[in-house]
Symmetry: C2
Subunit: 220 residues, 2 copies
DNA sequence: ACCTGAACACCGTTCAAGT
DNA sequence: ACCTGAACACCGTTCAAGT
């Protein structure tokens, strides 16, 4: 049953590795079929054997990033279910921001691969442990994913990558920028400049996820 | 003080109008400097008089979409502050999804124009009325924006545009797709297929925003 | 100052041909 | 079956030249 013709010189795995390499070294905007092919020392068309098209390449990359999200925090026995949910969200945010191009990737299409399903299932399991009905657990699982992905999107647009040192540098930058804004029309925003400058930090993220989880438990 | 040289044939407003027209007629992916120029019957270079570059064009478009968000719902006297916040979030989601390319636009860069500041200020005002401290109001204002933008991003990636009829059609499509998934590894997800299929609906959005707001008020 | 025309350095994708 | 080479129809941006 040997396949006819010449043997494959590449694989989807190798193509994805090269694609992530391009993003790591030159940024997400530099990602292209032609550049990945160049890195692999092959003509652009050769990639179409391993990937259907550009969108297919991106789907594969999204799936790999999602597979890197650690579901283990949802099983830490010493934490309450609510605390586990918060820690999971923190870990997921960190993974998406830390992966080369992770934030940009999740915006390129629907997140409905196998690992996204497993993530949803793990959230459902933990949420039902808090006493929520199964239907409310499903709604809550989506709300949590929305919150993580929305955070990651806004942070990435702002230049963040989940690194605490970078977070601090960006906060200082934003604080200075707010100082230059005309405060007369937005007095409350000006008064809370210290908080606004720290919107994209782990502390702010933890605060809001905790509120979301608390709101779900209060109603349930 | 008349400016020397030939008069301007275009304006930033006209360029932005044409850009939104391209997105409306051919989708966000079709948006390009060259295509906008073609619509205006001008060479691509002519646009550089009115817009610094492609990123500048996108910034202008984001600002216009943000200016279309109605802050009026935050001032409806017959509603409680919490209800006003939920209605505002619903209206903001609807505006972003309804605008041609609105969802794709908000992912193209930081949202920090003048209208974003005014939106933040209006949220702060309403949140302080609920009895939150000014600092917590600032955190809450960002959490709400994260939630709306995350929702819009996921819905747009899934093909939604905020239209209720389209929402219903997509829900039925997703329900059928879930039927084909192997349920053995994700029993809870399979059991809640009806809810999962309706993740991207106004009802689900209202549910999660309400929980987020409730969580902020309980803690405050 | 504003616009054109030509050019540079890129894209994704298809097709016909080689092995 | 897999890969190459050539081609098609696009990009954003720059530069020199015209008015």
């Amino acid at each position: 049953m040997a396949a006819p013709g010449p043997a494959r010189r590449l694989s989807e795995r190798i193509v994805l590795d090269a694609a992530f390499g391009v993003v790591r070294d030159h940024g997400f905007t530099a990602l292209s079929i032609r550049r990945v092919a160049a890195v692999l020392g092959v003509t652009p068309n050769a990639l179409y054997t391993y990937v259907p098209d550009r969108a297919g390449l991106l789907r594969g990359m999204v799936e790999r990033v999602m597979s890197a999200v650690d579901l283990g925090t949802l099983a830490i026995a010493t934490l309450s279910p609510a605390e586990r949910l918060v820690e999971f969200a923190v870990a997921m945010r960190r993974t998406l921001l830390g992966h080369p191009g992770g934030a940009a990737l999740i915006m390129t299409g629907p997140i409905d691969g196998p690992h996204a399903l497993l993530l949803n299932e793990a959230l459902l399991r933990t949420l039902t442990e808090t006493g929520l009905t199964l239907d409310d657990a499903a709604r809550g699982a989506y709300a949590l994913q929305v919150h993580v992905l929305g955070t990651v999107m806004l942070e990435a647009a702002d230049g963040g990558d989940g690194d605490p040192a970078r977070e601090e540098a960006l906060a200082i930058e934003r604080r200075a920028a707010l100082e230059r804004v005309d405060a007369s029309g937005v007095p409350l925003t000006a008064q809370t400049a210290d908080i606004v400058a720290r919107y994209n930090t782990t502390a702010q993220f933890r605060w809001s996820v905790r509120r979301l989880v608390d709101g779900m438990l209060v109603a349930g």
